[in-house]
């Protein structure tokens, strides 16, 4: 039997308070797509970061083509023709495509008097080679463009070209489909299958079982830092994998149950706004949500969802249009103004670590983060009532099963899932009438995901209007009463949650309208 391109044995990596990889054995085979599957935070990314030289394993050994290797930094990995494309792309926004590729490459030019041969860069030559590679592999990129001007899909292509430029032999891709439309996923899979056949080894990290079955040849299941099973995709199926991943049968579609509908709580009319780079992020967006209803926003990330949530919350200026909470116009009012407090708006932000919590504060202090909460827990508005605050914090922790050593613990010590539960607990403690939830289950393990989704669905019974923004199409499909597809800041169409044609939705997400329908829903 041939040697695997990479053989990792006994890999153990510890972080304060957690063992991310626990004596993992993992082989990477050439001419195959090796899939690493597991829940979020199972240890897949950590394992590949070890292979890529970003982490030093506490124990274990790595053999590259049969030879024992120590990978002290990504440079060692790249020299061994191992390239990793992370979930958050490692590209420099202010640099051009060419400059990003030049950064990785070991250059050898003419130098000055034979010295400093790798000092002078021949950017033109690099540019030409990028163009030819782009042509050869069908990955369209403009070498002169700055990364910050490119769409997420284009950036991914840049990352791939970067790897090809280094003559990559082992290509690692970490959750690459999160940012793609269904059609782009098809294109990517086609590319990977062809690319992998030329003697290369591909490692594909994902938590989506459909993808595993669709593209994988060999699949390794990781659970809580340990390898649970290694099989070929022909000898297993989705249900078995799910059971291996989680340890029990997984409910794929939660039961929605009844809702109690009320009148319009949120109404957005002709909303326009700019993004951070000054380009129009929202173009004449109109939608509304009734109490007891979940409106899901489906779309590839970067098409205006983040900006929409921010405008509704008052964190971003609307250049045109209005935001109404019932009859109150709250357009461009600052966050937590009178209007939003009156209608009790809850917000789970997209970048939860930086915006949803203060990581250096204790859980108790985070429990009252909010000007409305602060005022409600004071005597005479100046002195904080710590007795009641502590009670409130303990309540949040217990009712949402947040695993922590106590309310005095600093938020930084909590895992991602528990942080998200804490944020959700706090927002729901306001008894909101409108909840804006951005990626509420991203990065959470299956248990926490089920919990959060169930809580959101329960809100429908209480007449709460929920705006659900998520990269996870399954989540949108299974939870929404109505789905608004967004593309480049425009609402393409509003679909009814019960009967959705996935293909149509995929096309809408990619900006293709079937015929000339208006961009407002039939409501």
């Amino acid at each position: 039997m041939a040697l695997p391109a990479v053989r990792m044995t006994g890999i153990t990596k510890r972080f304060p308070g957690v063992v991310a990889n626990d004596h993992i054995d993992f082989d990477v085979w050439r001419n195959k797509i090796n899939v690493l599957v597991g829940e979020n935070a199972a240890g897949k990314t950590t394992l590949m970061n070890v292979l890529f030289g970003l982490y030093k394993p506490d124990e274990g050994e790595i053999l590259i083509n049969g030879k024992k290797s120590t990978l002290r930094s990504p440079r060692d990995a790249i020299n061994l023709k191992i390239c990793m494309i992370h979930q958050h792309f490692k590209l420099i926004p202010a640099f051009t495509v060419t400059e990003n590729v030049a950064l990785v490459s070991v250059l050898s030019g003419k130098g000055i008097f034979g010295l400093f041969k790798d000092a002078l860069m021949d950017l033109n030559a690099i540019e030409k080679r990028i163009a030819s590679l782009s042509e050869e592999y069908g990955l369209k990129v403009d070498p002169k463009a700055k990364i910050e001007q490119l769409s997420v899909g284009e950036q991914q292509r840049v990352e791939i070209i970067k790897a090809i430029y280094q003559d990559v032999e082992v290509l690692i891709m970490d959750e690459p489909t999160a940012v793609l439309t269904p059609q782009e996923v098809v294109d990517l899979f086609r590319f990977l299958k062809a690319f992998g056949k030329e003697g290369r080894a591909i490692v594909f990290i994902t938590h989506k079982l459909d993808e595993v079955m669709s593209i994988g040849d060999i699949v390794t299941v990781i659970k809580a830092g340990r390898v649970v099973a290694t099989k070929t995709t022909t000898e297993t199926d989705k249900n078995e994998l799910a059971r291996l991943m989680v340890g029990r049968d997984v409910i794929f579609r939660p039961a929605k149950g009844d809702s109690s509908l009320v009148g319009n709580i949120l109404r957005v009319e002709n909303l326009e706004a700019l993004n951070d780079r000054g380009i129009k992020a929202l173009k004449s967006v109109t939608l509304s949500i009734r109490g007891g209803e979940i409106l899901g926003i489906a779309g590839v990330s970067g098409n205006g969802q983040k900006e929409l949530a921010e405008v509704i919350m008052g964190l971003r200026k609307a250049t045109k249009g209005n935001v109404f909470l019932e009859d109150d116009n709250v357009t461009n009012c600052p966050p937590f103004d009178r209007g939003r407090i009156k209608h009790s708006v809850g917000y789970i932000p997209e970048d939860r670590l930086s915006r949803g919590l203060i990581l250096d504060f204790s859980i108790r202090d985070n429990a009252i983060l909010g000007s409305d909460l602060l005022t409600s827990f004071t005597k005479n508005r100046i002195l904080l009532d710590y007795k009641n605050i502590s009670k409130h914090a303990k309540n949040l922790v217990s009712s949402f099963d947040v695993k922590t050593t106590g309310i005095e613990a600093i938020a930084r010590t909590l895992s991602g899932g528990n942080l998200q539960k804490l944020i959700l607990a706090r927002e729901l403690s306001r008894k909101p009438r409108l909840l804006i939830a951005c990626d509420p289950t991203r990065g959470l393990d299956v248990g926490a995901t089920e919990f959060v989704r169930q809580k959101l669905l329960d809100l429908r019974k209480d007449g709460v209007a929920t705006l659900l923004i998520s990269e996870d199409l399954d989540e949108i499909l299974s939870m929404s009463d109505f789905i608004a597809v967004i593309f480049e800041g425009e609402i393409m169409k509003i679909l009814s949650g019960g009967t959705v044609d996935i293909e149509e939705m995929g096309l809408l997400m990619a900006g293709v309208r079937k015929n000339s329908e208006s961009s407002e829903g039939s409501r």
């Binding site: 990504p74 400093f116 002078l120 860069m121």
Partner: protein, 312 residues
């Protein structure tokens, strides 16, 4: 009218001489900041360099050795600063302030200890000699302004072009800028982020040390309590004012050198203003410059943030 000409020429020549000090310190800081580290300890490293150079130049009567000593002391201080901020990841701003305060304290103590509190402060017997450039130095007016200085001034005037070339045309510069923009991306591209930051910070501190040494061996020929008088901080401000570009830093340095010289000379000329006000000129100018320049979002994106593998 003819009286004015030599006055202005003298003023401009002094401006160039003082600007050289700002240029060297500020380009050093530029290097550190382009790699993502803000070093507010530059003031401390300058005064340490000034003292070390004075001490060595005084005992050996060799001002050149003084410059050398200043460089070494600066580099050592830079190494310590780099270790604290890069390896131990302490806050760059706070550590920098601590270094500047500490530099002042240490030099004050050792100066008093070694040289006592006599009424006449100790002087250097020799400063760095002026080297006039042949032919060019004889040009009327321009010759005195640009070509009758000591060698370090010439180096300082040429350095911005060299730095610009390295920073924007070489792979070293690309790596440095990448480290300052997004160290996580640079790391994943195989760039040794830690080594680059160490080198840039140490080199920057070394240059600060040289700049400080130039104060005692070129500008003056003695050492005083707080002889740097905030020039190190001005050097940091110059990075901002110059939008982190070497050639603009050169212009800024000339501006500030001029303000400093003007302040001193106005006082001597005896306008009917109390002497304190012309002396305020460099400080007021720094504040105004900061107000004007800081609005632009031009700095390295990761400036001031410590990097750790595994975080964004």
């Amino acid at each position: 009218m003819t009286d004015l000409a030599p006055l202005i020429v003298g003023l401009l020549a002094a401006t160039v001489r003082i600007a050289a000090i700002y240029i060297i310190a500020s380009l050093g800081e530029l290097l550190a900041e382009r790699s993502g580290v803000i070093n507010l300890g530059t003031e401390g490293m300058m005064i340490l360099g000034a003292f070390a150079s004075f001490l060595v130049a005084y005992t050996t009567s060799q001002p050149l050795l003084g410059i050398f000593a200043g460089a070494i002391v600066g580099a050592i201080a830079g190494l310590l600063f780099a270790f604290l901020t890069i390896r131990l990841r302490s806050d760059q701003v706070i550590t920098g302030i601590a270094f500047s305060l500490a530099g002042l304290g240490l030099t004050t103590f050792y100066f008093r200890l070694i040289f006592g509190t006599g009424t006449s402060p100790p002087h250097l017997s020799a400063t760095i000699p002026i080297v006039e450039i042949p032919i060019l130095g004889q040009i009327p007016f321009l010759g005195q302004i640009l070509f009758q200085h000591d060698p370090f001034v010439y180096i300082a005037l040429l350095l911005p072009v060299v730095f610009a070339f390295i920073l924007f045309r070489t792979s070293y510069g690309l790596k440095i800028r990448a480290t300052g923009e997004d160290p996580s991306a640079a790391d994943a591209a195989g760039v040794n982020v830690f080594r680059i930051r160490y080198l840039c910070v140490m080199l920057g501190a070394l240059m600060a040390g040289i700049a400080g040494a130039m104060i005692t061996t070129v500008q003056f020929n003695m050492f005083l309590y707080n002889v740097t008088a905030g020039r190190g901080y001005t050097a940091v401000a110059l990075c901002i004012l110059g939008s982190w570009r070497p050639n603009r830093i050169l212009l800024g340095a000339l501006l500030f050198g001029g303000a400093e010289v003007l302040g001193l000379r106005l006082q001597a000329i005896g306008f009917d203003i109390p002497y304190q006000f012309p002396l305020m000129l460099p400080y007021v100018l720094t504040i105004v410059a900061l107000l004007v320049a800081s609005r632009k979002i031009a700095g390295p994106a990761a400036l001031g943030k410590n990097y750790r593998r595994g975080e964004h």
